[in-house]
Amino acid sequence: MMRSTAQKMKVIPISSGEPGGEPNGLPGRLLAHRSGWLAVLLAGLFWLLAGTGMAVERRTPLHPPVPLLDAAGRNVVESAAPVSTVTTCAACHNTQYITDHSYHAWVGRNERFKTGTDPEFRVWDYSPGTFGRWDPISYRYLTPPGDTRLDLSTAEWIQSRGWRHAGGGPAVIGHGLRPLDQREPAAEGQAVSEDQTASENQTGANPDARILDAESGESKSWDWKASGTVEMNCFLCHLEKPANEARKKELTAGHFAWASTATLSETGLVEPATEGWKYRSDAFTDKGEAPAALLGLRAPTSQHCGQCHGQVYFGQEPMQPELDLKQWSTATKGQVFSPQRISMSGMNIRGKEDLTRPWDVHAEVMLECRNCHFSLNDPATFNPSTGDQPRHLTFEPRRLATSEFLLGPNHQFAKGAAAQGRVARNLEGTMRQCDQCHDADAVHAWLPYRDLHFAQLSCESCHVAKAYAPALQQIDWTLIDPQGNPNTQWRGIDGKLTDPTAEVLGFQPVLLPHKNLDGRERLTPFNLVASWYWLEGGKTPRPVRLLDLKGALLDGDQYHASILQVLDTDHDGQVQPSERCLDTQAKVDAVRQRLEAVGVKQPHIVSELQPYGLHHGVGPADSATRQCNTCHRSESRLGQLFLVATQIPGGVIPELVHGSGVSLAGQLTVDEDQQLVLQPSTQQAGLYVFGHDHWPLVNTLGALAFGLTLLGVLGHGLLRVVAARKQGSSNT
């Protein structure tokens, strides 16, 4: 009991702040600034109260203790079954409403369309979210029901991509309507189900029931009753210390039902068992409830969001970001959400001793992600649509009471309109924009032609002038390595990602016009990620399956002999990194022939360019671009050359993905080093930037007219002087 009390005292939100980190919450920080005598006084008071048991009562969070229930509604301490968050939390919260109103759960599953019907997407995409929209970074294609061949099935999607999914939605019902673990197994080629499907063909692949065997290449059935499904994991975002690694491990292992339970492993309520997890009954109350103080239930912090979205760091030690694709936003945009000074970073950043700015000024001033990406029915932040209001109404006082909100908090979070995100587009613009918190006019008095600048430039253009972490530059799936990995290049780092001594340079994003919610295009900073991959042709084009790529290119853990022969240009028997690119027609042909040999029809290389908007990583005002000649000069920032790729597989120039709202204003060219570069054009962006843009014809004509005038004047003057001298001598 004493241990339990001590634990409770340790995890009280008001004094501990962020999950898994140092005391960084606002109250914690404020307390840290109190004078010493006050701390001593409070400590003494707590010590006195602890003896009476009052301390526990006073320091217990608002949330009551929670009886953890399994899917059947039994207390898990008794049933020993996996925790069902949907059942457990339903005692007080409308979990059905919550799961129904969460694009984090549905990830586009509820917005799907038939493949090839939406011109804003690839012809094989069938949803705007990760459940149906193909991504060249994660590559494997989540096969829609009825498709010709199975690639990524629902179960494998959870295993490989569930780490970025909150659970619920397709992780419960897959492509159908009924929970996956309540259906009868179906064979491949059998009618898919009675459920709604994305494809008209009901007799093809059955991704809900089957899974592709990586060894044999055959599909086999997946036992959902054994694996269970992944309910929306409330613990992941609401526990003080969610055990995300344990959760991910369960997902990868295919123990889906245990994922939520594993998330509790940092609370001391559960511990690993031979099969699944077991509950530590001593950690529960006498009534079999999980003490609220152990759970530390709370509103999500930025670190909760960072578990899926990217590097968030609130610690005191020098930050050492994980530079891999698991830190999605960091990997795609070079962004880090942390109040720490960049100079304090553990990374070997060039000139970092002078970079005394924080990674993100919003983190420094203790904002959380939820401050801008708030729940849409949170009464504190409720922002009714102006379109629905009478014109005379300037404030809508009617909003939910806190108790009503807590009963049914909408998990559709306010969002902007990012170029890379398509899911829940009906919610675009619900987020608080920069100008809804900041009065730009008040602090830009120094800026001439303010309105013009604001009309043409996004705030981020100047306030996210640079990303200080490396980001993905290109990914090449046309020639995988013997381990089956693509050739991936990052920008903003001089050396390998895995080398801690590699110098991090960061990068300046390219400024491209992006259609804003007001319908106006503004220059916005982007990282461009180029990708190359093989596409199978025919009536239903699909990215060539990784399985087929491996089958075609590899022979065990080596390249197939015919591939090795063409790649090994220096004939040393090895494929050097510089040789690992389809940079000649002979190499392209060799791979194509191998793909055809394993049954891929009409394989051809396709390339695309995905813009990732930089909206975070905002610096303090003094780090923003404010010199006129940054843009108003020949070598303008706006026309700065942007390296797109250092290699161009198959010589295929990438095309901008559709529907991003970004205009590729500029020209993609191959420079003398055979690198693909983008030369942005302000004129193509519909801009005329004084000092940068010129009318060459006007200048030529004008200079010609001016020069001829000057020449005429000089000639005429010279003739006058000569004539005057002649006359002078004749008069003499």
């Binding site: 006129c628 004084f690 200079a703 001016f706 005038t709 003057g717």
Partner: protein, 218 residues
């Protein structure tokens, strides 16, 4: 030879002229700074823009005052070519610049306070003051006003079009300045016309004096 001193330019006309001259020169200079800061940046870009805008309004204000003056005093008539005999006089003027001036022939124009512009000057000023200057002022104002009335700017093709016209006119103005300065040297002496625009009067050979002199000298 006897010379007579003739009053050609009033004090206001001289102030008007020099204000315009200085403003236009500085406009060309700051315009170059804005147009190509890498090569011509004398001031900071922001200073160049601010000075350019202020000078533009000075030119505009001066032009309006000038128009009022020329209209109210009737001096405007000097700038209006008389159709009768204009062509003959213009040809004569061209012949003078292309031949007579080298033979030290007398200037075909008998200058007076009421008639001080030759036909070529009349045509040039008509173009400068009625076409070039208004276009330049209008395009300049529209570019300046892009902040306040972006729709107006868009309605005429946006800043791109405006800057093209403005730039072309600037080149023509620069050319005009060169020609104008040179032609001031084509008086009785190279400095006669310049002095006249500074002091207001010009010493004209007595036989050429077309109006009442203010003073006669030997």
């Amino acid at each position: 030879m006897k010379y007579v001193r003739m009053q050609l330019y009033s004090l206001y006309e001289r102030i008007w002229h020099w204000v315009q001259a200085l403003a236009i020169l500085l406009l060309i200079l700051t315009g170059l700074c804005i147009h190509d800061p890498d090569r011509f940046l004398v001031f900071s870009f922001q200073t160049a823009v601010t000075v350019h805008n202020v000078l533009g309004f000075i030119v505009l204000g001066n032009a309006i005052f000038g128009m009022f003056y020329y209209l109210s005093t009737g001096t405007i008539r000097q700038y209006l070519p008389q159709p009768r005999g204009y062509l003959v006089l213009a040809v004569r003027q061209v012949m003078y610049y292309t031949g007579g001036i080298f033979r030290n022939e007398p200037h075909p124009l008998e200058k007076s306070a009421e008639h001080r512009l030759n036909p070529l000057q009349q045509a040039t000023y008509l173009g400068i003051l009625n076409v070039l200057l208004p276009i330049q002022v209008l395009t300049g104002i529209l570019m300046w006003s892009g902040q306040k009335w972006p729709e107006a700017v868009l309605s005429v093709g946006g800043v791109q079009t405006l800057s093209m016209i403005h730039g072309l006119c600037a080149w023509l103005f620069a050319g005009f300045v060169i020609a104008h300065v040179y032609l001031t040297t084509t008086g009785h002496t190279p400095w006669t016309n310049l002095k006249a625009m500074i002091f207001g009067y010009e010493d004209v050979p007595a036989k050429h004096a077309a109006s009442t002199p203010i003073e006669t000298t030997d």
